[in-house]
Amino acid sequence: MTGDKPKAIVEVADAKVSFGAVKALDGVTLAIRPGECVGLVGHNGAGKSTIVSVINGGLTPHQGSISADGDILAHYGINAARERGVRCVFQELSLCPNLTVVENTRILHRHLGGFGWRKRAKEVIERSLDAVFPGHGIASDRSVGELSIAERQMVEIGMAFSDAGVAPRLVILDEPTSSLDASLAEQMLTYVRHFVAAGGSVILISHILNEILSTASRIVVMKDGRIVADRPAADWTDQSLVEAMGSVVKGEAHRRATRDLAAAPVVIEQGGRGMPFRAKRGEIVGLAGLAGHGQTRMLMKLHAAKTSDWLPRRDLAVTFVAGDRRLNGVFELWSILKNLSIGSLGDLAKRGVVNAAAEAERGADWKRRIDIRTQDLANRILSLSGGNQQKVLFARALSTRAPVVLMDDPMRGVDVGTKQEVYEIVRQQAAGGRTFVWYSTEMEEVCLCDRVYVFREGAIVAELAGGAVTEENILAASFRGAAA
């Protein structure tokens, strides 16, 4: 390469990967050099996770070459990548929930074995966690299954930056902040900047463009399996990024005009420690606060109170959009269509028999309405990218007739364009009388709500409405625990 630039840690040249008819990568060339943070953005299904798998050694491209530190490698695999200090935080959480944090560290670091490995692993992970998330409060002898989803993501990030013999040189972060709240995300981004300044490299994938713009030194935009732009971060703005990704810019998301809901009936309520929860017809109620402070539990409680485990109900009272798709979202063996229609089978069936024609029609309708990227709804749900799977879950909930929609951080990993579309649908449906209860880790979304409950330590500590719903007020309430 050119003399003044250091050799790339990993360089992928003209990589092509296809899954059946889908070209996930269509000739991608990408080099990562020491001391840079590459921001990788693109719409859902653009191929970001796929290129990450290639760099990480988990996927061999069907065509193209990979070189590391200047040498072209014929057999590049997971172990070769790891020996060169390539680490990855995957989009789906990928720890063993039955093992403790220490034991997970042992799994990650193959060379940590030998007598007394527990002690060494404990040191390794605690040192790294302390560095990335000071004051994290995660005991390393707890099993991962007991941790909250945010804590798990923290552990995973901590592990990627940990050093047990082979120092990390290139850390790939595929949507690392999707379950972190703003302050934790900021802690991580700060650490990334330190790491890069000290000569390490990072690939950062995120759908939150601010994170990319504030942290990356170079931003690469992908679209339909190709790289369409690759420029230093300073040359980009929010606007130009969105344009490059191919999304139509629909302008800033705005809260809809405040409406008078005083007369609207209360459709769902729930007591508990702290303030009571109450939502009215046609209202969009946000649940805010730091991640893991009881918002999801509140949603589960609301859901459990309104559904029966024993008897089928003709008219659903509530419906649910999962954030943790793997755990309580998708049905992996099924087609996209069946995944979509399962929520509203009651409407599609007559005397218990499913009307296939009506089902197909409704599927096609929603595929068009929220642009699910697939050739055929009969394909398996897992053939969709994560963001598109999430859209199917949305369609599942919105296609029911339930008056209340519970949303558990549903925009995890959804790209900017799609988000705008979904916001629009939510606004329309709320105007039509549907109630939304929306937990989100993204401040922008919380600010779209008519009214917001702020959670702290499992209880509602503040209620903000109308103009009071601002980032400052929410942050203040979630940290102080006092009502603004």
């Binding site: 029966s308 008897l311 659903l316 999962a322 992996e332 063996l333 069946k338 218990g352 599942r396 339930a402």
Partner: protein
């Protein structure tokens, strides 16, 4: 070629293929003379495995860990009590059937009550229930073999249109089960629960109700099979169901139903049930000793699953 490829993806094809090969190997010995006899015998005895297998399949579809070990004792109890009640009287056939079905419902309810109330894995709950039900069977008639009413005895051993009557009953039940699984909301529900119970719950499916109905359905099919088998073999015996424990599980999994749940397969049960009967017949016909016979049975089961396994379940 495309056709062939499509068909080879069907999970049930392997059990049918295996059944056919074994059937062919058996009639080769006699030079084809006994084709009809063997086929009819196979259909007759496969029918019982099919009926209990379908019930077991519904339960296995509910997901990992779901299995009903009380099938054999339910068959025994239903058979003994029904025959005792009918007491060789043709007029009592319907009450006998009703009592058998009621026993099935009772056992199914007990099974699910334990699973739910004690939050114990179904494998343990149904095992415990099977001990209790077996005791009840011993207690009711102390192992006496009472003959079935003559009409039932004749009916279960006779043929219509060249098909054994019991096979026709199994066919009707299979079509009903297929319809339930493929066309109804209930079928979607059990498949969803089998893939992910939390997801099913959040999608608004009445998880407990569905599982409850499924366990009851399985037990009712078992009691029905017990009723028919007792009539067919000329009286209920305390050990008459014991064969059907492993059999019911084997025909389900050999038939291509996913052991991990969520994906069931009715035609496969037929192939697997015929296969399980024919393989014993074939090895008996070849005059092999018990040891060799058992080893061959095991190896054949493993080969079938090796051929069928490793496939990706297709989009459904």
């Amino acid at each position: 070629m495309r056709m062939l490829d499509r068909v080879s993806r069907r999970p049930w094809i392997w059990s049918w293929l295996a059944a056919f090969v074994v059937w062919f190997a058996t009639i080769m010995v006699t030079g084809g003379a006994s084709t009809l006899d063997l086929s009819q015998a196979a259909l007759t005895f496969a029918a019982f495995s099919i009926i209990v297998g379908i019930g077991q399949m519904f339960v296995i579809t509910l997901g990992p860990g779901n299995v009903d070990l009380s099938v054999p004792s339910t068959m025994t109890l239903a058979g003994t009590v029904a025959l005792k009640l009918m007491d060789v009287d043709n007029a009592m056939i319907v009450p006998g059937l009703v009592v058998a079905v009621l026993i099935g419902i009772g056992v199914g309810m007990l099974n699910y009550a334990l699973i739910k109330a004690l939050r114990i894995p179904p494998i343990i709950a149904t095992l415990s229930v099977s001990f209790i039900v077996q005791s009840a069977a011993i207690w009711t008639n102390r192992g006496l073999r009472i003959k079935p009413p003559s009409f039932l005895a004749d009916f279960t051993t006779a043929n219509s249109f060249g098909l054994p009557n019991v096979a026709i009953i199994a066919l009707i039940i299979s079509i009903f089960a297929w319809f339930l699984l493929e066309k109804t909301v209930y079928g979607r529900w059990i498949s969803a629960i089998g893939q992910s119970t939390p997801a099913a719950k959040m999608a608004g499916i009445p998880v407990d109700g569905t599982r409850f109905v499924t366990y009851v359905f399985c037990a009712v099919l078992a009691s029905l099979a017990g009723y028919l088998l007792a009539c067919f073999s000329g009286g209920a015996a305390l050990n008459m169901g014991s064969e059907y424990l492993l059999m019911s599980i084997a025909v389900v999994v050999l038939g291509g139903t996913a052991v991990a749940g969520g994906d069931s397969n009715v035609p496969g049960i037929w192939g697997a049930s015929l296969f399980m009967f024919l393989v014993v017949s074939m090895l008996n016909t070849y005059g092999l000793g018990a040891g060799i016979r058992l080893i061959m049975t095991g190896l054949i089961i493993i080969s079938v699953i090796m051929l069928a396994g490793g496939r990706q379940p297709g989009a459904r």
